[in-house]
Structures are given as C-alpha cells and as structure tokens.
Symmetry: C2
Subunit: 497 residues, 2 copies
Amino acid sequence: MPKTETFQDLSLVSSGSHGELWRWLYTELRAAILDGRLRPGSRLPSTRSLAVQYQLSRGTVVAAFDQLQAEGYTHTEIGSGTFVASGLPDPPLSSPRTKPALTLPPSTATLSKRAIETLKGITVMPAPHSVGKAFRAYEPAIDLFPVELWARVAARVLRHAPRSLYGHGNAAGYPPLRRAIAEYIGTSRGVRCLPEQIIVTSGAQQALDLIGRFLLDPGDPVWIEDPGYPGAWQTLRATGARMIPVPVDQDGLNVVAGMKLSPRAKLAYVTPANQFPLSVTMSADRRMELLNWAVGAGAWIVEDEYDAEYRYHGRPVAALQSLDRSGSVIYVGTFTKMLFNALRLGFMVLPQRLVGAFEAARSFVDRHPPTLDQAILAEFITEGHFGHHVRRMRQTYSERMEILKESADKDLDGLLDVTAAAAGMRTVAWLKAGTSDKVAAERASQLGLEVMALSAFTFQQKQRPALILGFAGCNPDELRRGVSVLATALRGSPALR
Amino acid sequence: MPKTETFQDLSLVSSGSHGELWRWLYTELRAAILDGRLRPGSRLPSTRSLAVQYQLSRGTVVAAFDQLQAEGYTHTEIGSGTFVASGLPDPPLSSPRTKPALTLPPSTATLSKRAIETLKGITVMPAPHSVGKAFRAYEPAIDLFPVELWARVAARVLRHAPRSLYGHGNAAGYPPLRRAIAEYIGTSRGVRCLPEQIIVTSGAQQALDLIGRFLLDPGDPVWIEDPGYPGAWQTLRATGARMIPVPVDQDGLNVVAGMKLSPRAKLAYVTPANQFPLSVTMSADRRMELLNWAVGAGAWIVEDEYDAEYRYHGRPVAALQSLDRSGSVIYVGTFTKMLFNALRLGFMVLPQRLVGAFEAARSFVDRHPPTLDQAILAEFITEGHFGHHVRRMRQTYSERMEILKESADKDLDGLLDVTAAAAGMRTVAWLKAGTSDKVAAERASQLGLEVMALSAFTFQQKQRPALILGFAGCNPDELRRGVSVLATALRGSPALR
C-alpha cells in the first residue's frame, strides 16, 4: 500500500460558500493528481482528516471526493480508503505542458465589421425586479396571470407527454400548437391559413429576425413606420438593408409617401391594428393601397400584431393578412403580450411558398422551439384557458385604461392630454406644444416612473411632444400613484408647464 | 324591437369536428354582420333555434355567440336575446371593399440572394415518432430521463417563482442558471469563467449561429474539421464566410495542415474532447499548437462540447478553454445531450471583451431565453439532480456501448469493426476497405435502422468507409436487435461483404 500523500502546498481559502469550497478542494486535489504531487495508486487522506485539517465540513470534502471519483481520478476500496487511479493515460493536461499557455499574449481577434455596425446604439434592457410598474408599456398584467392554473397544466403535460416529446422536435413547431394557433387567429383575427403555414418562433422578435435574414440582402430598401418600433428597425437593418422611414398619419402608414421615397422597396414593416407607438388603426383604403403597391413592386409586407385582441371601442378590425390573396403578407404574432413575456413563444404565418425555406432556416439557426413549452401552451389554448384569459384581460385593460384617463384628466389637466386608447396596452399622452418629451420622460424616470418619449421612436418625421404610457400591466393603485408622480414631475419642471 | 333575421343563405357544413363547426358558424355570422345581411340592432335567433335549424349542438352555437360578443359584434340583453351591436364604426372590412383584394395577382417577392445560397442543401430533420431507435446518434437515453422528478421541480418553480420571473428576462440568461453552469463546468470540465461570461442560448446551435453572425464577415476564412459537424458548417457559412476543411487525424485537427491551407483564418471550429464524428481526442500538443496559432493569427477558437462528460476509459480531459489565457476560446456547451433534446437550452462561455456585444446581439435577435425553463433547470442543477443524472447516464452509456461492441463482435465479425468508444454517445464502425458506406447506410435504413455513413460528414478528405452508430439512446434489446438487422443489411448486399 503506497504511503499517504500530504498537502503542505494547498492553502486554505477562508471565505466563500459551501459550493465554492467544494469546488476549490476538488480543483486543488485534481491539480495535485495532474501535476504528480499525488501519484497514481497513492492513498488520499480520509475525508474526516481533510475536513479537520482544512476546517471544512465533512460534506464539502465528500462532495469533492465524489466528483473526483465520478471523473475517474480516484477509486475507492471498501475498508481501505480512496486511491488515485493508476493506469491513467498520458497526462495531456499535466502542468509542464500547460505552462506555455500561461505565457500567451492577449488575443487580438475581433467582432465582424458587420457586427460592429449592427450593434451600434443597441441598448440591452435588463430584467426588471418587479412587475406592474407605472407606466411600463411592454408587460401585460402579470399580477393577474393564473400561475396556479398554468403550473397545473404544465405538470400534467410534463408527466403524461409521450417520451418522444422529450426528443428532437419539428423545426416549424409542435403540430398541435400550430393547429391551435391557426384556429385561434382564424376566428379572432380573420387570418386565413393552414396550420402548415405557421412557424412557431421565440417571440415575435425572432420572427422579425428570421425575416430580415432570409428575405433581405445588403442594400435592399425597407419601408419602416416613422415613428415606429425600434425592435423591428434593429433586426431588419442587421442584414445591411437600407431603412426607409415612411411617415404615419391618422390612417396609418402613408403609402403614397412611401412610394415617393422608395417605390421598389423589398419589404414594408407595418403594425396596422394598433400602430406602434401612435396607436392609430390603418384605414381600409390604406390597406388596399399597401397591398396593391406590394404586389406591383414584388415586395413583402410584414404585419406585426402584438395586442390587437385588446380592443375597447368599436369593432375589431381583421388582420391585413385576411385581405391578401397575393401571398405578399407575412403575419407575425406573439404570446408574450397575451400571456407573459418570459414565455418567449410567438409565431409567423407565411405564404405557402416561403414555408419550406423558413423551416430549413430555423433548423440550422436554432433547430426548433422548446417542445414542452409548446405542448403546455397548446393545452392551455385548446382547453379554453387562453380565450378566457384574453377576454378577462380585455375587460381589465379597458378598466385600467379608464382609470388612467380619469386620473390624468383630473391631476394632469393642462399638462398632459392622455388619449383614451381604443385598443392595446399603452396610449399616447400629448404634452404642450414646444415642450420636450425627452426632458419630461427623464424627469419622470428620475422620480421612479417608466415613461418613454414619443421622440425616442421617431426616425426622421418630427412629432408633437408626447409620452407613451403603458396601462395594461399596472393595477389601479399603481396607475393613480403613477399619475400623481407624473404630475409632480411635469409641474416641477418650468419648461414642461 | 327589430325583426329577427333569417339565414337562408347559410349552408350547413355536414362534417368536421366541434371546433370546426363552431368556427364555421362564428365566421358565417360575422360575415353576415359585416356585409349587412344582419343589420346593426337586429336580433339574432336564439341559440336553441339555431342549433335545431343547423343540427348543431347547443354548445357549438353558444361558443360562436360568445366569440362574437367578446369581439364586440353583438351584445346580450338579459331576457330579450342577442343583438347585433349598433354604432359600429365605418366598416373597413365590409365586403364591397374587400372585393378588390380578391383580384390581386400572385406576389413575385423573393427570398434574399444570400438566403437562396445559404439554404442550398439544407435538409430538415422531422421529429421522430419514438425514442431509442437503433442507432440514432443525436438522442440521449430519453427512456431513462426522470420525467416525474422534472415535472415536480417544474411545478414547484412555476408556482413559487416571483411574478417578476414571468416578466421580461435578461438577454444573457437567468443569473442563477449562469452561476450554476459556471460552477458545473468549472468542476467537471475545468472551464475558467465567471457567471457573467456565460450567455444562455437556445441549444448549442444558436450559440454557433450567433458566433457566425457576429464574428464573421463575408469571405472570412474559417477552419472546420474534416470530417466534421454539418450543423456548424451550415450556420458558420451562412454569413458568407469561406469554409476551409482541415483534416483530422488520430490527434485531432491537424493544425499544421490548417496553417498551410489558410494561415490567417478568422476562426477555427473544433470538437477537442470527442471529435465529431471520428471520436478522437485532441492531443495536448495539438491544443497548444492551435492556441498558439490562434493568438498569432488573431483568430477565434470555437470549442464545441456536447458529450464530454461521458468518458468511459481513461481520465477526463479538461476543456481546451482551461488552457487559454489569451481570450481566444469561446466554449460552447448544451443541455440537450445531457438531459433531453426538446429542452433547447445551451450556453456559450465568452472571453470578457465579447460579453457586451453578444448580450446586445441576443437582445435583438430573440430578446432572451425562456426564463421559467431556465429557472427549472437551475433548480435541477443546484439540487444535485443534474449531477446525479449525468453520473447514472455515464454508467448506463458505458454498459450500452459494451453491449453494442459485444453484439457486433459476435454478429458482425468480418463485416463491421465497431470501435469501443472511449467517450460520448456514438462510435465509429469501420467497413471493409473498398466498400461504400453510403450503400451500407442506405441498406440499413431500408431495413428501418438509423445509421449514418462517415462519408456524409466529409467535406474534402477521403475517409475509410465507416458507419456512425449511436448507442446512448438505445436500450440493450434495441441495440441487439439493431445489430442483428444490420448484419442482415450488410450480408444481404454482395458489395458490402
């Protein structure tokens, strides 16, 4: 039996969590084996004596030993102890050979030129620490999401799904979810499609990204609404396409203006149901103009809908896609606004002739969406929970919008004119002409509100100063508190009164 | 009270599921409202009488009515009935205006030129209907995955997660998961990193895709192992980069050969722990050569590990990343092979100076990975279930590999020489010199096996004929059955004997 090695050269780290200590001990022991301080066949000290020697818990030492054994560095003989494995192959990572690595100079490798261009001005939004903050515009009412119901459906699906659902999935998405989506948007939005035309994506954002990557070449002109959605701008220009901001008026995107700016654009990005951020609905005439232009120009139309189901006044307007018989429109939808952001499931409805290409694209971009999340969502829809939740939220958001409007009319009279939103999860609140919405939004955010300036969404077209206020995610108390804080912010700044 | 309208012009569809009938009735009623057959304020027939008239269940009619009401087309007066809503705005979708849409000619819009090039030769793998088929190489042992345990952890996380986890998440991933991954790969693979260097991705494939998009410009030369992984080839060349196949020998990628072919490549893609598909381990000398070359050339090294934890003989070899002090190596890992494919969670470990750029990239590519899936996985790891599962699978896969080897030595003696894999989830089985592995794989697949020809993974370097056989996902009976079928396939074809 070879003699027990000692560890004079191991120094004790005195701080750190249990996890870190365990890892530290494992790493030190492994290093000792790798560089020959612990020779093959030699016995390790007992876990008890190591624990005493280094003032570690027994569990910490055992965890380190377990890992060493699991990786084949050691083996245990019952009654005798733990030994360094013998017959190890040539040590490829032994210290003499790793030494040169330490002398490597820093790498000079770079991002691509395209990436440097693309990433300019992209800011990353961190995850917020709480939900329902006034006047966050990107969140539905997460406070009212039926978490217990979702957990129950999820547990059932995970337990009873056939094992094959844990294996490789379909690039285009889980077929029952595609059927459920086709049925839902057929009835709720008038979208005409077969389930086969639906590609499930990681939120609407991935749909826009795939569209940019596979439909646009560098230099291709793209119509984008001005003011408009920065998320679309960022991803569509990433391929090197040329963004053409087209003005938006009361009737939505001004098609005639677009035709003057760039008659042969390759693609037009629009939000007809509830324009982002102006909240106007595209008129029927404009829809027809846009379709006729697209067919003539050989252009794609991307119709992005994210909160069209929430309409509070008047009749819901069917999707632009429902008018299209030419195969020009790609409809993009998402569940992140209808259920919760973290879900990351959206979809696009493609003209038939694009389906194969996007399926292939998705398969090498990231293989396929998570199957079990899709199966849970499919169950949630087909059991009727989704429709029920949407109807309930429509009522809730309508009430929240009224509360915002009433509070603002009372507390912000003369300072801010809040539009009664006809649809969606946010509204436009007009400031006095001549004031700066950037300054107003900054003042509000200094007081802890989440408020966006309309000018942050304008590309070229000057707009009247306004704030974009989300209301759907905020409960009544928070909305009233937000209005009162906003009043302080606007009254406190002479430039804004 | 206005008179009740009749529906002479509605024709009954006689087939279809409940869901389809409901949708049909809803669509017909909506159309009748939209084109004026049902005028504002007019009363609809009772659900009972409609059900009788059209031989529908009462539930079907009620569902259609509910949807109409939810969308604001109708309203109900208790005791009086259901009425078409009055005061609707100008009908943007009324039939006279939609008519022109029907006459649109087909769109001539196209894919981008780049996409047409990129998508050439991409084949989409459909989701298989069952798990564990011999000799599928991309699946772990899904039959042994602890589904009940996963469902329990999932239900707990979903119920007790703070509401903010249902909101917007971090582009780089859920922080506790990033910490758990950093700790795990630090101990199991020797990867040196802080949690901040980890970006959680949608499987390893998305990591490779982001790397291609943000590190490569069109025309950039890229070293890729030959034979090698098509998934990497497909996505790295998608930016227009120039693929340089570099031969692989017993010691892994031949760095000297690579330097002759393209000394100033921008990136090298390697699988050092268990080369895909040859299953060789990159030697220590080659690792140092590769690192030294990369630093000198200002090149990135992408180290793709997918099954390195499964090592059956000899000592585990730490990741190449653990030798790098220059910041040249990007380490890519995945949970799809360690847990189950459908999970779609992987990660990359970036040199510090790339972290901000990739976080920004991810934020507009698809925002962030699904938070709750990440929270479930983080719990699964920190509670020790993950380590336990990996150790159990290491034992299982080692046994399955032995069974494959023994059965093959017995039944395929002289026809196929199955290598005893030292690591991973698949092995190389050599055919007789001069035979065609494509023919052999085809014969096997005609008999229902899933077998890949080595030549399917070669880009330029000719290889001896061989089959790639997966064993990890197949239970012992299926492995033995597979070997017997494979014997039939090979014996039945004179060209292969």
